[in-house]
Amino acid sequence: MRAAVIVFPGSNCDRDVAVSLRAATGHDPIMHWHADTELPKVDLIVLPGGFSHGDYLRSGAMAAHAPVMREVKARADQGVAVLGICNGFQVLTECGLLPGVLMRNQSLRFICRDVFLRVEATDTPFTAHYAPDQVIRVPVAHHDGNYFADPATLDLLEGEGRVAFRYTDADGTASAAANPNGSRRNIAGVLSANRRVLGLMPHPERLADPLLGGTDGAPLFSALAESLAA
């Protein structure tokens, strides 16, 4: 699998996700500067976490119009897998590749801690190495992670099985207490209609190595490596 990590001014999880991709695939991803429109042929495009353009105007709003994004959208339309983590998820909603929007956390606080997620969809190149309804532990670190969409859009996402992850407690119950940021229906990650684009607020790359204190994020990268093997 060939992967490209798009680097925006203000990205800060680009090297973390590169480490996870290298561990899963055995080689380094391409680190691709956002202003470079000549994107090489790849099987996976990653929009990493961070604070692109200082979160000015709205989180992800500027990066959504970066020169390379026209090409990212074209590749997504062709079925190339696109993974957006945290700020990358915000960019995916701002550029229209995923529905909804990430609003300010309901508490108004920046939240940085581990959360539990229930895997809601396993028939995707991102989640194939998880078991249905598996509960995993990964960190969140965001100020704008409060997923919002109108009820019709939420119903559509649920009906098409496009909610990939939901915030739950350790037992897998999607309670209000387990919802860190006020997201509608405890939604932590959503898929595109063709299931080739995933955006999620939590950071699987931050718990993907025993040295980091957990490996629950690693199956996401191993699944991509296997599903997208050339």
Binding site: H65, T93, V101, M103, R104, N105, Q106, S107, L108, N146
Partner: protein, 80 residues
Amino acid sequence: MKATVHVTLKNGVLDPQGKAVQSALGGLGFAGVEEVRQGKVIELTLAETDPEAARASVEKMCRELLANTVIEDYRVDIEG
């Protein structure tokens, strides 16, 4: 020519920042503030001299960048 864009949250979209401001106003002793909705004002200076063309251009800016129409409404005022 000057354009002023008011970006506000749509009705029905929860505004936690507005709620926090409302609560702080109550704490300062301002009674009777029934609701606070927080938005943005964006001022643009345009080379365009035709008001209709300016409005059309700024509305396109709103749709493409200045507002996120999933959750926000916008209003454009053109002057001078």
